[in-house]
């Protein structure tokens, strides 16, 4: 059994059978007795180690301490223990690692000591593996140095590169002291430079030579150079005949080129990028590589972009076009993918050409070469699912005249005369998407005077497409777009031939049309990005009818295309926004977000979920268990997952990338979100939290200095927006996305709540002098409060923080920072009837009261919908549903109120416990006020939940929702706005078709409120 996996090791071969058997059976009392006997008889210290290890398996703290003392003695003793003893101790210490025993201070150095003494033994390699798997880089580096010296100039080149890789890893690791960092950095660079020089100068390199031979070795060199070398060294080597990027390409190695271009781009070395791309692409034409080996779009884009930035850009761009033409001439031999890449490269090049080159005579500005190229591209690819995404950024770059020509002249001519209805419909759907895109582009607007014909204009612009006063997006254009898209949708739905042709298409055109209609309706409803600046109430932002029409329409489409993940994700977000968390969860589940992809995708559902719908956590299976298991399982070891595999295989760049990835995973915002959301939900229902968040194994290395990383993947969202505005997911989130700032504040706030909730374990028996214990506890509390107060304040004062939080969250964290400061003052103030309490305490309590009052007033518990100017229809009197999307804010009010109450309660309880006198009476008075304030606040939240619950319990909700969507049945219809409603109605099958949907929405609201009804309010 290998020692590093912590299976019970076999005792060494010379041990007698009786002891071996007792040990393998785990018969520890017998092992202790027999080992003691053998130690006395044989005078072999190994038996003493066996005895100590066996004792450590018995109950009792003293026995366990014996093991730690023995290990400590081995460290202090400069002798080299035998490997069997080390393995035995390593196994026995397995449960103490990371707590009482730091591997890097104990077993790692012992292993390094042994490996240095016996570098030729195969067990030295095991020592290296053990140190790596415990991520003790200092010892691992020392062992690798010994191994490298022992096996220098052998055919196994790994020893040399393990040493270099570990020296480099150590130089960038927190395990390295600042004093040593420079030495290790230089050591790694110099060793690799020597190897590189050897390669450059040798006519032929043998595997026993210490030069750079394999792709991994060469890439490692460049990675180290990039990190620790100079730009000049990097560039100089990149041009070299043997180790340069071009020579590597000739050997079929592409990695170096890709990585170098990225580095050169960050340095703005456009001449070099241009030359490198030209050389690389020429290789394919000259037969030095397979022709299309390098025909990646990224390479062409970098080539064109660099050409537009070099000194003689005109001639450089001419060169790009000439090379591209040579490729186009042979494109018949290429696969579809490369053909398309070449077409896109042509588009890219055209858009990078200066305007004067494109159209020297300035004639027919509309039908410019750029429009012609887009037309040619779409002519070939309009039926492809990715066609819109391919041309989107180029269309958004066009001038207005070009846009007009594209939409009015070029697009209609794309399908040939014989094009079937299916192809025409696909084009129609693409046209709708482009129209939507253009509604987000500023070139479709022109400024208009603020007063026209004596009338003050409320819109600052005029739409150049429809000539109506407009802002971005133009409402008139969007309404027309909804009506047109709905017409096309109905035509498809009513045409059997068309419906029959859908399975043969890349994508169901109804899906595109539904997305266009849905997002247009969302924009028309007034929905804005859910940033910290957005008004907190969804219903104050949006017109309910149009918003609900969007949701209904997209939901209807999901029944037709249930497998479409873009649409499903969009709906998940919309239902969360609407306060229908249980229904959102039903839609989320089939996406089967599991295992590895949870880190990047889970925030799309779980972020803020405990504040929106704590009831979801009350299911039979813990809601976030798979996510928690993923982290616990993946990060259980200190080393990056599978790192030894990469060492064994000699995959040096993999080692570096895996280490970096592991570091980010341990600092993941999603990880912090998982821990915090679960704890919040547990507290909602009075459950028991397993351990303090700071003691949780997953937060072991997180402190204020740690930058937490948000890796949320928004890739699967449909995005019809141009780059001139925010992407669609920013409109749909409950608030700003995950961030370093919010994650830290959440982490600190949980630590504060842990402090308030702390109770000594039941089996804890303080020493006789209870006064000392109380004093030490008080000291610890004050230190913690001081630290938390400072850290919370620091994070709240980061310039970026306000934009990372909702208004409710800002209030919550601000009040927590004030509470920590107030408690610090309260508990530090000595009881003395003569001295008044410091003024700071009353200032702090006053600030807490004002901040809490502000939180309550800016976000009324039951918002009263008001008709805003310009809005068609406010939410009706049924104000209880207005609260549903605001549950996260309600949760903030509850959490804040409880924090205030519990903080005051914490101080008052300490006063009661302190038999010798307690706290200053003014402090107690202020705390009683806060205690009451918190209690009152919670009571108001409770009342609000009951009001909503009672309101939703009334009959007639189905009709009320349908009335919101379509208007009341007896209501008179008004012109254009209702043209939109009629269009939607026809797509979704009218009120009758929407009844089931309305039922699901109401049911989900009720489920959410039911969960809230069970939340503890004390």
């Amino acid at each position: 059994m290998s020692p590093y996996s912590y299976g019970r090791p076999a005792l060494k071969g010379s041990v007698d059978v009786q002891l071996q058997t007792a040990f393998s059976d785990g018969n520890w009392q017998t092992v202790v007795r027999l080992a003691a006997k053998r130690a006395a008889t044989l005078k072999d210290p190994y038996y003493e180690a066996v005895k100590i290890c066996a004792e450590s398996q018995l109950d009792g703290t003293a026995k366990k301490c014996g093991l730690l003392v023995a290990v400590d003695e081995l460290i202090k003793n400069k002798k080299t223990p035998d490997i069997d003893t080390i393995e035995l101790y390593e196994w026995a210490c397995r449960d103490f690692l990371g707590y009482e025993v730091e591997y890097a201070d104990t077993l790692g150095p012992l292993r390094a000591r042994w490996a240095k003494a016996y570098p030729g033994s195969s067990l030295a390699l095991q020592c290296l593996q053990a140190c790596l798997e415990n991520w003790d880089l200092v010892s691992a580096q020392q062992i690798s140095t010994s191994l490298d010296k022992t096996y220098a100039n052998t055919a196994d080149r790994r020893y040399m590169f393990w040493n270099i890789t570990l020296t480099f890893l150590l130089s960038i690791s927190p395990q390295c002291t600042n004093a040593s960092r420079k030495v290790y950095s230089m050591l790694a660079v110099r060793q690799l430079e020597r190897a590189a020089d050897l390669t450059e100068n040798a006519a032929k390199l043998e595997s026993t030579d210490r030069g750079l031979l394999t792709e991994e070795e060469i890439c490692l060199y460049y990675r180290v150079l990039l990190s620790h070398g100079t730009k000049e060294e990097f560039i100089s080597r990149l041009k070299s005949p043997k180790l340069g990027a071009t020579s590597q390409l000739k050997a079929g190695r592409k990695v170096l080129l890709c990585e170098s271009l990225d580095a050169l781009q960050t340095w703005g070395e456009w001449d070099l990028i241009y030359n490198l791309c030209r050389e690389a692409l020429t290789l394919g034409l000259e037969g030095a590589t397979t022709p299309f080996f390098l025909c990646d779009l990224q390479l062409w884009r970098k080539f064109a972009s660099a050409a537009s930035k070099v000194t003689d850009s005109e001639s450089a761009l001419g060169e790009v076009q000439a090379l591209l033409k040579r490729y186009i001439d042979i494109k018949d031999k290429a696969s579809e993918m490369y053909k398309k890449n070449l077409s896109l490269a042509l588009l890219e090049t055209t858009f990078r050409l200066p305007a004067a080159t494109l159209n020297p005579n300035h004639d027919n500005a509309g039908l410019s070469p750029r429009v012609v190229q887009i037309g040619l591209f779409l002519d070939q690819y309009f039926e492809r699912l990715s066609a819109f995404d391919d041309v989107k950024s180029y269309v958004a770059e066009l001038g207005f005249e070009e846009v007009k020509t594209l939409m009015e002249t070029v697009l209609p001519k794309i399908p040939d005369e014989n094009a079937d209805k299916g192809r025409q419909t696909v084009l129609k759907a693409l046209e709708c998407k482009l129209r939507y895109l253009l509604s987000t582009c500023p070139q479709t607007l022109s400024p208009q005077p603020s007063v026209v014909d004596g009338q003050i204009q409320d819109k600052a612009f005029q739409c150049r497409l429809c000539n109506n006063p407009a802002s971005l997006p133009c409402e008139t254009c969007l309404k027309k777009l909804v009506v047109d898209a709905a017409n096309t949708y109905r035509q498809i739905a009513g045409d059997k031939e068309l419906l029959g042709s859908i399975p043969r298409m890349d994508k169901d055109p109804r899906l595109d049309l539904a997305l266009v209609m849905g997002t247009s309706l969302l924009k028309l409803s007034g929905l804005r990005p859910r940033s910290s600046e957005a008004s907190q109430s969804l219903w104050q932002d949006v017109e309910p009818g149009l918003f609900l029409q969007a949701v209904l329409l997209l939901d209807t489409q999901l029944k037709e295309t249930p497998g479409d993940t873009e649409l499903r994700l969009l709906l998940v977000q919309l239902y969360l926004l609407l306060g229908c968390a249980s229904y959102a969860h039903q839609l989320w589940t089939p996406l089967d977000v599991k295992r590895t992809i949870q880190d990047s995708l889970s925030p799309l559902f779980f972020d803020r979920i405990s504040t929106l719908s704590p009831g979801l956590f009350q299911g039979t299976r813990p809601l976030m268990e798979p996510l928690r298991s993923f982290y616990s399982h993946t990060l259980s070891d200190k080393s990056p997952v599978r790192i030894w595999d990469a060492f064994s295989a000699g995959s040096y760049t993999s080692i570096l990338d895996m280490t970096e990835f592991d570091g980010k995973l341990r600092r993941s915002c999603t990880l912090m979100m998982t821990l915090v959301e679960e704890r919040r939900a547990i507290r909602c229902y009075g459950g028991k939290i397993d351990c303090e968040i700071e003691d949780h194994p997953l937060t072991e290395n997180i402190n204020d200095e740690t930058t937490l990383v948000d890796k949320t993947d928004y890739g699967p969202f449909p995005n019809l927006e141009s780059l001139h505005g925010p992407p669609i997911h920013e409109y749909l989130r409950l608030g700003p996305g995950l961030s370093n700032e919010r994650s830290h504040l959440a982490f600190l706030s949980e630590q504060y709540l842990d402090l308030l909730a702390y109770k000594p374990p039941k089996d804890y028996k303080p020493s006789r002098n209870t006064n000392d214990v109380a004093l030490r506890d008080r000291e610890y509390t004050l230190e913690t409060l001081s630290r938390l107060s400072n850290s919370l304040t620091d994070f709240l004062h980061h310039p970026s923080t306000p934009s990372r939080l909702t208004a409710g969250e800002t209030s919550y964290y601000t009040i927590l920072s004030l509470l920590a400061a107030a408690l610090l003052v309260a508990l530090s103030t000595p009881r003395s009837s003569s001295d008044p309490v410091p003024q700071t305490l009353s200032s702090l309590t006053q600030s807490i009261k004002s901040a809490f009052a502000s939180l309550q007033t800016t976000t009324p518990l039951i918002p009263t919908p008001q008709k805003e100017e310009g809005k068609k229809k406010p939410l009706p009197e049924a104000s209880c549903i207005a609260t549903l999307p605001e549950m996260p804010t309600l949760a903030c009010i509850r959490a804040t109120a409880l924090a205030i109450r519990h903080s005051a309660g914490f101080v008052l309880a300490l006063d009661e416990q302190d038999r010798k006198g307690g706290l200053h009476r003014d402090v107690l008075a202020q705390m009683k006020v806060l205690h009451e304030l918190g209690g009152k606040g919670v009571g108001e939240v409770k009342a609000a939940v009951q009001t909503v619950k009672a309101g939703l319990g009334e009959a007639g909700w189905l009709d009320r929702v349908l009335d919101l969507v379509f208007g009341e049945e007896e209501e008179e219809e008004t012109e254009e706005g209702d043209e939109v409603t009629r269009a939607v109605e026809e797509v979704v099958g009218g009120r009758a078709g929407a009844e089931e949907w309305a039922g699901r929405v109401v049911e989900s609201w009720r489920e959410g409120v039911k969960g809230w009804g069970m939340v503890r309010m004390e």
Binding site: Q298, D389, R642, I643
Partner: protein
């Protein structure tokens, strides 16, 4: 629209376009990283202009354990395709074929005798795809899959073990014409 390059661990945060598709399996992190650690040149991705992964192939290089050297089922040094997938939006562009060809290049560079893979016998589309690329059925692995993909009444499904000879196999010793007639048990497959 696509770039082909070697996989990087950060790509795991950009897999949604492929892995939210129900036909693509999501594995544990250690599974992906094992491939990246051991055979980085056989783990290739295709990415779109926004950095989303729209296709990938994972493969490995290995031979059967030495203890089976004299078994009739012994597999000499070869490359194996473990997974290949293309996002729905990037299909019909030949990305799967290009990824497979790249793996074959890596297999040749590592002196493999052949490239092999397993496919459900009911997956006619994939079988045709591989046949067009020069793969042929080498043997049928009975009841290899624990469930049937199309017939819920069946408890298992056979797999075709398909192979394509690489440059090293000049005499085409490691492929056979009548592979469909050679049936083996899952226990014969390592």
């Amino acid at each position: 629209m696509a770039n082909f390059r070697r996989f990087r661990p950060d790509d795991l945060n950009k897999l949604s376009k492929c892995n939210l598709d129900p036909f693509t399996e999501t594995y544990e992190l250690s599974f992906y990283l094992q491939y990246y650690a051991k055979w980085p040149s056989l783990f290739q991705v295709a990415e779109d202009q926004h950095g989303n992964i729209i296709g990938y192939i994972m493969g490995k290089l290995e031979s059967s354990p030495d203890v089976y050297r004299f078994s009739e089922h012994y597999l000499p040094w070869h490359a194996h395709i473990t997974a290949v997938t293309v996002a729905p939006e990037a299909r019909r562009l030949g990305i799967g074929k290009l990824l497979t060809e790249q793996l074959e290049v890596a297999a040749d560079a590592n002196d493999a005798w052949f490239v092999d893979l397993f496919v459900r016998v009911s997956n006619h589309k994939a079988i045709t795809f591989y046949k067009n690329m020069g793969y042929s059925v080498f043997r049928v692995v009975k009841d290899y899959y624990g469930e049937h993909s199309t017939d819920p009444t069946l408890l298992s499904e056979d797999a075709y073990d398909m192979r394509k000879p690489m440059k090293r196999d000049v005499k085409k010793e490691h492929v056979r014409e009548d592979g469909e007639k050679h049936e083996v048990d899952p226990s014969d497959v390592w």
